[in-house]
Symmetry: C2
Subunit: 182 residues, 2 copies
């Protein structure tokens, strides 16, 4: 029996951020079917921890307008991988571009499939400690604003639903767990 | 100045699971741009907890083939809302269809945007305790298999990356946190 995978693929749309394929697929049991598949090149996200040495350090969150939600969401810095860029490099670049902070090293927390029923998008999630620089160079604008929030409060915002972005929830919960006494 | 939102929308593809629009959008600062937007009707997911009265109860996970990942992923039961169906009803229906278990009530943990940069998909995440029935009626197949995993182990699988599905990671971390002594 043939292995599971692609039988044929039809490109429906090629976009700037995503592309759409409609694929004929063979499943592991030999059955076949058609699947709509959003192709995405992958992304990195990073939890920026200020002054990691204290018990309840501030986290830098971005409050930004999201058209998909028609609302402002709290998110950690994140963005798509540039061609040839490693996930670590992407995380450091996005941290700097979106917050003004720099960091020598990032540590990987996990890599997630955002919604594997219809897209291959993976987000590599990191934590950044030992930040230098800051927000002074960043122009404030009307739809992206930085907020420093204590980790305990950020965790509470995940539990209450005030933070509703998946990568942000996972990053914050993993950072919080990694700092908790065993 | 006009409010942020849709200026015009062009439907590129209407699919079974998702549709694709390319929208002209006005942002909160008055600038405009084009966005690719995957439209999805929303979904529910549910963390099934067996014997919730014990300290480290088993969680029912589904190990299933995902074409997007070309791999088997561990996930909690989940699926799209039927037309007119409430998120709670959907969670209970998907729990039953995918595991054979029934439950009287589900409790909402949170609602997430899976990846708000390019889709409006929201997943309502619930926990189900007090399960009745079971897996006896479910036909085993080659690409979906049920696994009972202690909550402590499921949490470790999120931290190690063995569980990489976003909704599953969030549901498990929230259930684990809600059961931890304050």
């Amino acid at each position: 029996m043939a292995a599971a995978g692609t039988i044929s693929s039809r490109r429906v749309y090629t976009g700037k951020v995503i592309s759409l394929d409609v694929d004929q697929v063979r499943f592991p049991d030999g059955t076949t079917g058609e699947l709509e598949m959003i192709r995405h090149s992958g992304a990195s996200a990073v939890v920026p921890v200020l002054d990691a040495g204290i018990p309840d350090p501030d986290i830098i969150l971005i409050r930004q307008y999201r058209y998909a939600a028609n609302a402002y969401l709290y998110e950690i810095p994140a963005g798509r991988l540039d061609p040839g860029e490693s996930p670590e490099e992407c995380a450091k670049r996005e941290l700097h571009e979106e917050t003004g902070y720099s960091v020598g090293q990032v540590r990987r927390l996990t890599t997630i499939y955002t919604t594997p029923g219809f897209t291959d998008e993976m987000i590599h999630i990191f934590v950044a400690e030992g930040l230098t620089g800051g927000v002074a160079n960043r122009e404030p604008d009307e739809f992206m604003e930085l907020r420093a929030v204590p980790l305990s409060r950020a965790k509470a915002m995940v539990h209450s639903g005030e933070i509703s972005d998946a990568k942000t929830a996972i990053g914050l919960l993993l950072v919080e767990a990694s700092r908790r006494p065993k």
